[in-house]
């Protein structure tokens, strides 16, 4: 226990200094949330590259939580869906149902190129389409996979902090 204490003391703060907040107007739905965005992540068919990056976006270094975003376990607690990957046939209906389970006002964030335009999987037989073909998308985050900074920036567009 003492060792852990010493390590905490030695390490200090690992979170990087916050970059300036992204400009631009927020949608009314995002503005209503008032700096608190609970996020439910849905993997609609991703290769798991984006998941790794989302993991580090919420890790100590990028610390997306400091801007008011938090991952939650149930869509009922969520304000935004963080969708990764092209929407596969098997995940189309579950994705719609997840969206339906979120209480309004609700937002959708498409994370990664696959979610935006199917990326490398465009035209594949098992793919229904991009996330915007299934759900109304509010924010898109580019990259394959997107860098954690980009994910944090996308989330900050929702929280406004």
């Amino acid at each position: 226990m003492l060792g852990l204490w010493r390590k905490i003391h030695r390490t200090g703060r690992v979170a990087e200094p916050a970059p300036p907040p992204p400009g631009g107007d927020r949608s009314p739905a995002a503005a209503a949330l008032g700096g608190s965005v609970q996020v439910r992540h849905v993997d609609a068919g991703s290769c798991n590259g984006c998941e790794v990056e989302i993991g580090s976006a919420f890790g100590p270094v990028y610390d997306a939580e400091r801007y008011g975003a938090r991952l939650v376990a149930s869509p009922r607690h969520a304000d935004a869906l963080l969708v990764t990957g092209p929407v596969t046939r098997n995940m189309t209906e579950p994705l719609r149902r997840t969206y339906d389970a979120v209480p309004g006002p609700k937002l959708v964030v498409a994370v990664g190129d696959c979610a935006r335009n199917c990326g490398a999987f465009a035209g594949a037989y098992g793919v229904t389409g991009a996330v915007s073909d299934v759900l109304p998308v509010d924010v898109e985050i580019t990259g394959c996979p997107p860098r954690p900074e980009a994910i944090v920036e996308g989330l900050r567009k929702l929280t406004g902090r």
Partner: protein, 666 residues
């Protein structure tokens, strides 16, 4: 004749008339006539008991009515309480029976015996001599046995339950009888007045107490003589279960209090430590078995063992305090115990009647196949919920008030106590607390799994609400629960009068304020505060803050689905953590059978999981005795091979033996 005597006389007459009516009235109207008659019998018993509690005692003797001893009846405050409770339960059970008995319970014998059972239970606490007491007690045992066996044609388990009940209730009767006869022999008379004025030596008094305690504890379903209870109560028709569980078992407590406090005038500490220990063990063991049981009525039966255990904790504590001269605390403890008797009668009547309604509406008592009754049986669901709240010792429930009183007695007992008491009190508190905690788990399971969510079986899916007469019987019990929970001060003076130690409270209408020790609780204020809190919250949230309408949505099934009833938590899975924590105590037997595909050992075709939780006390205590009896019987069988010559030979040799013995000794 005063009201007590008149009421009891009317009750007896009405009961006998209803029994006769049960024999002669045609089948179609039988249930209605007998049910009404039984309810009226109970309704006549209640004022009799209340009058006795108010101080109108009476006593009559008819010397010629019974050979040798005659018949003596009398009602004092203690008896009055039990008469009133029995009467109250009988009203609810009688009304309920009108609707319930219409389904296969109209047999002449069953209908005729039902009111007689009530009469016997009303007469037991009114008996004033050993002979009368024994006759009434036996009448009660015999009638209840016949009622337990009412459905033996339909279900084979009933016969086995009846056999257990018959044997154990009569063994209990025998020990009570021996105890009382020894007492009467030393007292030189069999009336209770004679017993009361007798002076027994320490050893005789102890023998009398222990013998009667064994018998009465068995009637009250106390460990280790409880084995009949979880068998007989579920198998009896539900309104009979209610009578047995809410009224009959109380008479065991009555016997202990009558003999221990009244006839023997208290006793040394070890008697009461014994009572306390038995009570605490029964409370914990009973509720533990209830928590892991899936049969709704069996669960309620075990809960009866638990509650009577709590009552005995109070009785034992009262005896301990009385033995060390703390009469105030003894009054609190005994009042708590007797108040719990009243409360238990109210909520257990409600729960057993509601369980009967579930059985009637779904055809099953297995919690694993119930659920989703909220929509099809709304009234039963609401009433069972009320009963479950009352039974789980949470405010605003009835059991909470009596357990609070009990804990007050235990807590104040420590400072002035000896070492034995000092060790006993905290352990008793811990036992009461564990019991209360497990009771919460038990009744959350019974209500949550049994009535909420989706139906787990076809019976529950096709459930239908019970007829109005059954609902009325339950409603009556529910009203009693509500009044007892919110305004316990309405019955506390009566309970205190029955305890014989005087009222432990200052007698305020709304607040229970203990008179000579610190302790204040107001259930009514508590309920009002809760309602106020809920209303303020509702007004603030729904009226002021929330701006968006409520929306109905699909259950969150992780996007897949649909969620079927098979995915729900069942009673077995709900109780699994409790079972696992108390693994060493309950020793469940589980076996898992895995069937593999013929082609490959690695492909599983089906997995069957079975769990059985045997009653461990039964296994350790009863099975050796039964095995010994069986061995003894089979050893004896070689003597009886059916040859008449041989039997004549036995007779001849025995006579010769006796003659030789006489010749030698004379």
């Amino acid at each position: 004749m005063n009201l007590a005597a008149t009421g009891l006389g009317v009750a007896g007459t009405l009961g006998v008339v209803s029994a006769l009516a049960g024999l002669v009235v045609p089948r179609g109207a039988r249930a209605a006539v007998v049910g009404t008659g039984t309810a009226l019998t109970g309704a006549a018993g209640v004022p009799a008991g209340v009058a006795a509690l108010a101080g109108q005692s009476f006593s009559v003797t008819w010397p010629g009515l019974l050979p040798l001893s005659g018949v003596a009846f009398g009602l004092d405050t203690l008896g009055g309480l039990f008469v009133a409770v029995t009467g109250g339960v009988a009203i609810a059970a009688g009304i309920y029976g009108i609707g319930y008995a219409r389904h296969g319970l109209q047999a002449r014998a069953t209908q005729a015996v039902f009111p007689l059972f009530v009469v016997a239970m009303l007469l037991v606490p009114a008996s004033a001599s050993v002979g009368t007491f024994a006759v009434c007690w036996e009448l009660m045992a015999a009638t209840s046995l016949l009622l337990v066996l009412a459905e033996h044609r339909r279900r084979p388990e009933v016969a086995s339950a009846g056999r257990w009940y018959a044997v154990m209730t009569h063994l209990g009767f025998v020990t009570v009888l021996i105890g009382l006869v020894v007492f009467a022999a030393h007292a030189g008379g069999d009336s209770f007045a004679a017993l009361r004025s007798a002076h027994l030596s320490g050893a005789t008094a102890a023998a009398v107490f222990v013998l009667t305690l064994a018998g009465f504890a068995s009637k009250a379903g106390i460990l280790p003589l409880h084995a009949w209870l979880p068998r007989a109560h579920p198998e009896a028709p539900s309104h009979v279960s209610a009578l047995m569980s809410a009224a009959m078992v109380n008479l065991g407590v009555y016997g202990i209090v009558r003999v221990g406090f009244d006839l023997l005038h208290g006793g040394p500490r070890w008697w009461w430590l014994l009572v306390l220990a038995l009570g605490a063990a029964s409370a914990v063991y009973g509720i533990l078995q209830a928590a892991i049981n899936n049969d709704l009525k069996r669960l309620l039966g075990y809960s009866t063992t638990e509650n009577l255990g709590l009552v005995l904790v109070g009785v034992g504590a009262a005896g301990l305090f009385a033995a060390s001269g703390q009469r105030v605390l003894a009054g609190v403890a005994l009042a708590a115990a007797l108040l719990h008797v009243v409360n238990h009668a109210a909520f257990k009547t409600l729960l057993f009647l509601a369980a009967g309604s579930v059985l009637h509406g779904t055809g099953t008592r297995d919690l694993d196949h119930l659920g989703g009754l909220r929509r099809s049986m709304p009234v039963t669901t609401g009433l069972f919920g009320l009963g479950a709240l009352a039974a789980s010792a949470l405010p605003p429930g009835t059991a909470f008030v009596s357990e609070w009183l009990l804990l007050q007695a235990l807590i104040h007992g420590l400072p002035a106590a000896g070492v034995a008491t000092a060790v006993a009190m905290p352990l008793a508190v811990a036992a009461v607390a564990l019991t209360a905690g497990l009771a919460v788990a038990t009744f959350v399971k019974a209500f949550g799994v049994g009535f909420l969510a989706k139906p787990r079986g076809t019976g529950a899916a096709q459930a239908h609400e019970s007829p109005p007469s059954m609902l009325a019987g339950m409603g009556l019990a529910a009203v009693a629960c509500g009044v007892l929970a919110v305004l316990p001060a309405t019955v506390l003076p009566g309970v205190a009068a029955a305890s014989g130690f005087g009222d432990p409270t200052t007698g305020e209408a709304v607040t229970l304020r203990l008179a000579d020790v610190a302790g204040t609780l107001s259930p009514l204020v508590l309920v009002l505060a809760l309602v106020a809190g809920a209303v303020i919250t509702l007004a603030l949230v729904r009226g002021l803050l929330a701006r968006r309408a409520r929306r109905e949505a699909r259950l969150w099934d992780c996007g897949a689905g649909p969620m079927s009833a098979r995915m729900e938590y069942t009673a077995t899975s709900f109780a699994e953590p409790v079972q696992r924590v108390f693994d060493d105590v309950v020793r469940p037997e589980t076996d898992v059978d895995v069937d593999h595909h013929d082609e490959s050992r690695y492909l599983v075709q089906a997995v069957a999981y079975r769990r059985r939780v045997p009653d461990r006390v039964e296994r350790r205590l009863y099975e050796p005795v039964l095995a010994a009896a069986r061995a003894w019987g089979s050893a004896g069988r070689s003597l009886a091979n059916g040859s008449v010559h041989r039997y004549l030979g036995y007779g001849f040799y025995t006579v010769c033996g006796v003659l030789i013995l006489l010749a030698v000794t004379r």
